[in-house]
């Protein structure tokens, strides 16, 4: 089990032209900015390529590519280097923007494409589960966010009301 090998396999898949662009989100993406938090899988956002002769974009070429290199399907996941990876389309304007503006990070000489801290925080605000709220708090407490950039994102994507509720609920008594 080695998440660096998982990232290396995704990089290779991009280099081989199977996917156009990818970015790591979720808890693994957040680890690039915060302290590590236990997670069981890797969320990888990609632009799906339509298959030849079809207007439908599917993840099948991704699965075929990884299976041919030792990947194993587990439901909607494919296990790569011991980590279940879920490939997700950029299904909302916010995630689309996060994918377009993702940044390259260096992992001991290897490149990894990751959502920005501000996009990860905005997505956490939007998804709104308890663990997403906890992650958003981590981003704030760690000082990992550029406040102006974060506010611009949540403003663009209609999240100001959600942010007000979050502030009232969790940051009201912050000195």
């Amino acid at each position: 089990m080695n998440i660096k090998s998982t990232i290396a396999a995704i990089n290779q898949m991009q280099a081989d032209g199977v996917i156009e662009r990818y970015a790591i989100g979720g808890a693994v993406g957040a680890t690039f900015y915060l302290e590590p938090v236990a997670t069981l899988d890797v969320d990888v956002f990609i632009t799906f390529r339509p298959e030849a002769g079809s207007l439908l974009a599917t993840a099948q070429p991704v699965f075929d590519y990884l299976k041919a290199r030792g990947g194993r399907m587990e439901g909607e996941y494919i296990v790569v280097a011991g980590w279940p990876v879920q490939f997700l389309p950029a299904a909302s304007p916010l995630v689309e923007e996060a994918l377009a503006q993702a940044v390259e990070k260096d992992v001991a000489g290897m490149s990894a494409r990751v959502f920005t801290a501000e996009h990860l925080a905005a997505i956490a605000l939007q998804t709104g589960r308890a663990k997403d709220k906890a992650r958003l708090l981590q981003f704030i407490e760690t000082g990992a966010l550029d406040p102006a950039r974060f506010h611009a994102i949540i403003s663009r994507h209609g999240l100001l009301e959600a942010w007000k509720r979050f502030e009232k609920q969790f940051l009201g008594d912050t000195p």
Partner: protein, 68 residues
Amino acid sequence: MTFDLAKILRSKREFRQRLAARPIEEKLAMLDALRERALALRPTRSALETGTLHEEPPPYRGQGGQSR
């Protein structure tokens, strides 16, 4: 040892910030270790059957604001 809650919380926050500042390679290795531990602690029927545990993905929805 202290029972000063403010001091405890400050200390926890500082520890988390030190962890967050570790090199990414080290933090990714921690993720590997944390996942192994989670697998050991959370055996479920599906895990026993497949050897793999995973989480429900978050609802990456298109509509902003409302979480539920």
